[in-house]
Each structure stands twice: as C-alpha cells, then as structure tokens.
C-alpha cells in the first residue's frame, strides 16, 4: 500500500502539469493572502484611529446637557478579524461603523464593496476561494485518470492479477494524492495559523488559533471528499474522458452553480421586506400615539409618589424619566423588528445549508466563514453588542439627567466606557452550523465508502 502511495506521489510530483497547476494555486493563494493581510492591518489601524478620535471627542464635550450628548452620540467601529486574511467572508458586504445615538438603532454604514467595481462580483480572490473552488478542480484534473487511465492502458488488470487488494490500491492512491495535495494545502495552513498568531489580540489568541487549525482541517476534509469522489468516478467510468466530463459537471453544478441557485432559492422562499417598507413600518410603530397616554399615566404615578401636583415641583428632573421611557418603549420595537428581519435571513441561510446534501461546497463555505469570524451571525453579534452599548449609554445619560435637578456640575463623560467588541468564541460561532459540519464529514465518509465499494466491484 505504501509502495502504491509512494509511487502515486512521485508520479504526481514529477508530472509537469501538476507542478504548474499546483504552483499557480499556491502563488494565487499566497498573493491573495498577503494582500488580505495588508488589508486587515490597514482596516484595523483605521478603525482604531477613528475609535480613538471618537473617544477624544466624547471625553472633551465639556459642560453639556446629557441629552445633547446622547444626540451627539458615538460611532462604534468594527475591527477586521485576523482570519479575514484567509477568508474575508461577507466582510465586504457589511457596514463596519454604527452610529450610536439617542432614540434610534441605526443600520451599519459603509460596506467596503460599495467602493469597488463590478469586478468584485466575480469573486474576491482569497485563499478561501482558492480552497473552495480551485482545490477540488485540481483534485479532479489530477485524479480523473487514476483508475480509468490504468484500465485503458491495461495496467489495472495486471495490478489486480498480482494480488494487490483493491482496498490497498485505493488507500495507496488516496494517500499518494493526499501527500501531493498537502503540498498545496500547506501554504494555506501556514498563512492561516500565522495570521491567527500574529494578528489576534492577546486575549483571543487561543480562540483564533483553534479557529485557524479547524479551518485547515475543514479544507482537508473537503479536499478529501473530492479526492474519494474522483477516485470512485475514475474507477466506475469506462474511459478517462467520461470520468473527466462527469467530474467536471459535478464541480460545475456543485461548486459553481449550486451556491448561487440556493441563495436565490432562499430568498424566494423567505423574502425580506424592502428597506423602505421596513423603515416606514418601524417609523409608524415608533410614532404610535398610544405611547403618550402611557407616559402620562406614569407621570401621574410619579407625581403621586412624591406627593406633588406639578412636574416642576418634583425633586427630580422629569425629562430624564420621560426620555428613558421613550428609549425603553423604542427598544422593544427595535428588538421585534430586527429579530424578525434577522430570523428571515437565518431562514434563508438554512435553505443554503440544506443544499449541502447536494454538494459539500455550501457546507464548507458556511463553516469556513464562521471559523474566520466573517459570517453574518458574528457580524450581528457586533451589532447586538453595539446596540447594547447604546442602550446602556442612554440609560446612564438619562439617569444623570433625572438626578441633575438643581445641579450645574458637568457630567463626567468618562463614566460611559468606550465600546469594545468581544467576538463570540469558536463554540458559539459553530453551534448554528452543526448540520453543515455533519454534512461535510458525511460527504467525506460517503465518498470514501463509495470509492471502496466501486473498487470491490472491480475485482469481479
């Protein structure tokens, strides 16, 4: 078996075609990775600088009404995640700055893709794209003739006649191919682990390193599934040409066409509202006149509590209470509207995830993004934390306003802490993707079994 493996490996590494394609792939991945590295560094420096500017402005507000400060607000900036070097995921299609101000939960601003050309829609060249789309293609191009070629030359029958067991033959070939492919995967692995080690903030280094290792493993499983599939088809096909055409067709449908088709299917099954409809409804709900009646009831209750008849006689500042009442009422509405919207997006992504029954590509895409920290859910975690920060900020400022009656002292702006994003840990990030992980492993197991089963038949 090892002899077969060594033979396959040597044959591949001596093959000019393999060398050329593999070198092309590695160069592409490394160039894209280094460009990504530079991008992560630049984006992070910009986010840190802008956040610093915001903090200075916030602290230097001087003596100002806390509610003016609430309207002045603060911007929260999202720093890029270290593994964006290997998989930027949806990063380019999401805004990275949120304005945190009084009364409103704002949408994130500035999607990097808005400053790019239509070319980016051909796909951003990243190590992830190389691994997802080109790696399987390399496997197919190298392996389609593994058995079909030997059969055509008549060497397959010789091998079997020599008493080589089919399982050994398969594992030997698989091992040989894997060793050759590992040469291609290795630079990707190094890039990922190096990015996690070098770019992760101190507290998150372990988590990011685990993510990097899992990321490499996921691509290994994915490549392995394509390898076994290729070997199985090669053993089944009568000629190498048939094997090649069948495998290319699977790649085309499963890797190129299916993800787009699935994502469009998700939208037609679970449509999202238009932005204008969403906003109009939200505005209408926020402006609901019933709120005024509830507020009035609360005012009367507070007057009663302090045993006074006029708001101005209260020992506290009534506007602080009224504003906080408005905040809390609006918060309930924001939660309802955004939860609805996000659950629709999640339902769309589940349709996409189900597509992993048809091809391993959708599963890998989701898992890869999640491991790199660049999927929709982890971006929403940023938005949720930023919104939480906004609400705490409003509560503190309105409380200060409430208690400020008769005082002229300036609010201590440092009482509002700076916003810090804590990315969800690896386990939280992967929980919604357990089906994808399971399906990815299932593809690996199923293709391995298929390859074994077809080889058993060879003997007969």
């Amino acid at each position: 078996m090892l002899t077969i493996a060594r033979h396959t490996f040597t044959e591949l590494t001596r093959d000019g075609r393999f060398r050329l394609t593999a070198a092309l792939l590695v160069v592409l991945a490394i160039v894209a990775g280094l460009a990504g590295w530079q991008q992560v560094n630049a984006l992070r420096a910009e986010a840190v600088a802008a956040a610093g500017g915001e903090r200075d402005r916030w602290l230097g507000q001087g003596n100002k009404n806390p509610h003016s400060a609430a309207h002045y607000g603060v911007y929260a900036f999202k720093e890029p995640r270290p593994l964006a070097v290997v998989d930027p995921g949806v990063q380019a299609y999401l805004g990275s700055a949120v304005y945190l101000e009084a009364h409103k939960q704002n949408e994130p601003l500035y999607r990097p893709a808005q400053d790019g050309t239509a070319l980016q829609r051909f796909g951003d060249l990243s190590p992830a794209l190389v691994g997802q789309a080109l790696l399987p293609l390399l496997v197919i191009l190298l392996g389609f003739a593994a058995f079909a070629g030997e059969r055509e030359r008549g060497t397959l029958r010789q091998l079997l006649a020599l008493g080589v067991r089919p399982a050994h033959l398969l594992l030997g070939k698989a091992l040989g191919f894997s060793a050759a492919l590992a040469l291609v995967l290795a630079p990707l692995a190094v890039l990922g682990v190096a990015a996690a080690a070098a770019l992760a903030p101190a507290g998150q280094r372990t988590d990011e390193l685990l993510r990097a290792v899992a990321w490499v493993a996921a691509y290994g499983v994915y490549g392995g599934a394509f390898l076994f599939l290729t070997l199985a088809v090669s053993a089944l096909a009568r000629t190498p040409r048939t094997a090649l055409v069948v495998l290319l067709a699977f790649w085309l449908v499963g890797v190129v066409a299916l993800p787009r088709a699935l994502s469009d299917l998700g939208r037609s099954l679970h449509p999202t509202p238009s932005s204008i409809a969403f906003r109009t409804e939200l505005e209408a709900a926020l402006g609901d006149p019933h709120a005024r009646e509830t507020l009035e009831a609360q005012r009367i209750a507070i007057l009663k509590k302090y045993n006074v008849t006029e708001t101005r006689d209260l020992p506290i500042n009534w506007s602080g209470i009224a504003l906080q009442f408005g905040e809390e009422r609006a918060n309930g509405l924001f939660d309802r509207f955004y939860q609805n919207l996000w659950s629709t997006l999640a339902a769309q992504d589940r349709v996409f995830q189900l597509g992993a029954f048809l091809s391993p590509a959708p599963a890998l895409q989701l898992v890869s993004q999640a491991l790199a920290g660049n999927d929709t859910a982890q971006h929403q975690a940023f938005l949720t934390q930023a919104e939480h920060h906004r609400r705490e900020m409003q509560r503190t400022l309105n409380g200060a306003l409430r208690d400020s009656k008769g005082s002229t002292a300036a609010f201590e702006w440092g009482k509002i802490p700076p916003f810090v994003f804590n990315p969800p840990p690896l386990t939280t990030a992967l929980t919604p993707l357990l089906p994808s992980l399971a399906l990815l492993l299932a593809w690996f197991a199923a293709t391995a079994l298929l390859a074994l089963a077809t080889l058993r038949r060879l003997r007969a």
């Binding site: 894209a32 949806v90 999607r111 290319l248 204008i276 971006h379």
Partner: protein, 470 residues
Amino acid sequence: MSALFRLEWLHVRRDPAFWLATFILAAALLYGLANGFAWTRFEASAVAQATTLADQKLAAARTDAAKFDAAPPTNLNPNLDPRDARGFEFAYLRRFAVLPPSPGAALAVGQSDLLPSVLRVTYRPRESFLNNYEIENPLRLLLGRFDATFVALYLLPLAILVIAHGLLARERDGGTLALLRAQPLSLARWLAARFILRGGLVLGVFALTTVVGWLALGGAPSALGAVAIWLALALAYGAFWFALAWFVGARAATASSSALTLAGAWLVLVVLFPAGLNLTLKQLYPPPSRAAFQDTLRDGTDDATRRGSQLLAQYLEDHPELAPGPTAANENDFFRTRFAVNAEIERLAGPLRAAFAAQLTRQQTVIERLRWFSPALVLHHGALTLAGTDRTRHQRWLDSVGDLHARTVDFFEPRLLRSANFRDYDAVPALDFRDPPASPAALLAALAALLLPAAALLALGTRTLRLSAL
C-alpha cells in the same frame, strides 16, 4: 454538405451528453430569467412604495392645510403644521430619489443589489441619506445572483466544453480518424458540419429559451430590443467558445487533454483574470478609508458647531438675503447656524467624496481598457450596461441626486427661516434623471471584441487541420 448534416444529425440524436448539457443549460437559463424578474419586481415595488408614500404624504399636507385653514387648531406645534415650511419638511415631506430598473434589468442583477436605489433626499448633509442600502442577505451579495447573465457567462462556455471538446479527438482516440481520412472528404468540412450542427442547435435553443422565457415570465415586449442585443452578445460569446474548442480540438492529442485545455481556458478567462484584475486594481488604486472619512466629518462637524457664530457671519456674507431683518426672531439663529454648519460639512465632505469617486473611476478606466483581453469581461460589461445595473449608470444617478440635494438646500433654506404660510407644495424640487440613448458604437465594439478572436481561432484551427491532413 447537406448529406453530411443528415448523417451528423443521426449521431447527435443519439448523443445523451449533448442533450443533457443542452437541457441543463436551458433550464438554468429559465431559472436565471425567473430570478432576474423576481429581483426586478422587488426593486420596482420598492420604487412604487416610495412614490406612493411621497404622494400620500403630500396629499395629506394639502388636506390638513385646508382643514387647519378652515378651523385653525389651538396650540398646534409648528413642527407638525403643513402650512409652516418647518412642519411640512419635518412631518409631511417624504421625497425620494428613485432609480427605477431599466427595461432590460431582469437580464443582469449586476450591482443593483449592492448600491442603493431609493434615497430620501433632504436639505441635511448628504451623508445622512446616501447610505440607505436595500435590505439583502450579505451571503447572497457575496455569492452573486443566479441570473441570465451568470448562465451565459459561466455555464454556456462549460456546456460548450462538454459538447465540443471531443468532436475530433474522440475519432482519434477511437482510431476511426484514419478511416475518415481515407474518405474523399476534407477533414475540415466534416468537422465543420459536426460543429455547425451542434453549435447551431445549442445556441438556437439558448436564443429561443431567452425570448420565450422573457415573454412567458412577464417581460415587456417593448424591451425585446434590449433582449435581442443581450442575446447577440451572449451568442457571440458562445461562438468564441466554439471557436476555441475548434482550435483546441485541432491540436489536442486526446479528448481528455482537449477538455483539460478548455477547462483551463475557462478558469483563466472567466475566473482568474477578472478576480486577479480586481485584486491588482484594489492594490494599485485602493479606495480611501471610510473610517478616516467618518472621523474627518465628525471632527469637522464639531469644529463647525464650535465656530457656529463665526461660520454664521461668513455664511450670511454669502447669503445676504438670509440676514436677519428687523423682525428677526431668535429661533431663526438655530436654523441659520445649522445651515452654516451643514454648508461647512458639505465643503469638507465634497473633496473626500470626490476622492472615493476618483479611485473608483481609475479602476473603472483600467477595466474598460483591459476588458478586451477577456471575452467574459466584454460580455459582463455589455450585459450590465444593457440592463442598467452597472456602476456608471448608478454614478450618473448619484450625480443627479447630488444636484437635487443642492436644489433642495436652496429651496428650503430661505423658506425654513420665513417658515409661516408655506404653500409651495408644487415647487419642491424633484429629481431630474434620464438615461442617455444607448450607444450602438459600444455594442459593435463589444461584438467585434468577441467575434474577431473567434474568427482568428477558427482560421488557426482550420490551418492546423489542413496541415495535419497532408
């Protein structure tokens, strides 16, 4: 020749790979068209919602104004009074600049799912409304749409690869080529018959599916002109791939190596060249930093607010008509200062915005020049232009939005200061945006860019065949 075709037809009829590829292509095209229509309808409905909302609010302003005139309410907040410019602007005016989908929009979603097409333009600084994105799943933005242009761009060449890669080499592999050579028939003519029959069938089915699908899925017959041009580009692109298959087939030793070469060419022309070019351009002409942009604007706003009174004096020098008269109310100072601050923000933001646009234009210029090297880019560029979902049209629209914003500021600033007794409902500025007529020269250039290399490949392939036949 007709006998050749008849003979070949017998082969084609019994070729399952041919029919499977053709069927999958047609089904994918129909799905792509349906997706394109679903998106276009969604966009049109968003535009309609915006227009309806604007009309309803305007009608409400008139009705309420008449009602309040007839029976003046007590204690009405001027900010909610439609007869007051401030009340009208704040509570009633919902005016949107909309970019309606072009008649051919369903052919290519392009950039229309990424760039906003409904913006609520107010007199406030532009940054307050320019980033109103459409709600969309980021994963879908990343993957791109399964639309008709995707089918033509990616799937059509691969269908052609499956159909045409072995038309000659299979005979060579099977050893029947020598038999053919023995016939009193030129190899090129025999092979031409095989190619023409299959190419005609596939591209014919593609064309028929497009037209029938367009009409059946509810496309406007008036847009059939755009569909025809799109189809001409797609078919020319298909012709290029057939010509490439002809050229490669004439040289390849085996059917497998022919398929490998074609797959490699597809990868380079459709995937790697565009993605690599994008990566290179992003390195060469990176857009400025949005975070720094935001930082500058915030700093500028702070500074402007602090220098409010000084800025106001400067502003009033430029706008003497807005200087407080003898009856100047104090509250107007708030608006005057705000206008001055807005003008200052606009002054700061203008050059920064232009810097983003300039980098984008640089990238765009290089793409327009280099696109001739990849038929995929020629088709992509042509299809998006035709569908009106390209960046250039959007930029033209944004320029009109900028112009509308300037006119809105001019309209509202004096009126917000002397805000009482506002009746100029009909005079509120509206967007002035029109598509320029399509340029036939650009279309001819694109067709030529697809057909000339196709012709060259055909000629080279034929030469190889002739030489090898000797």
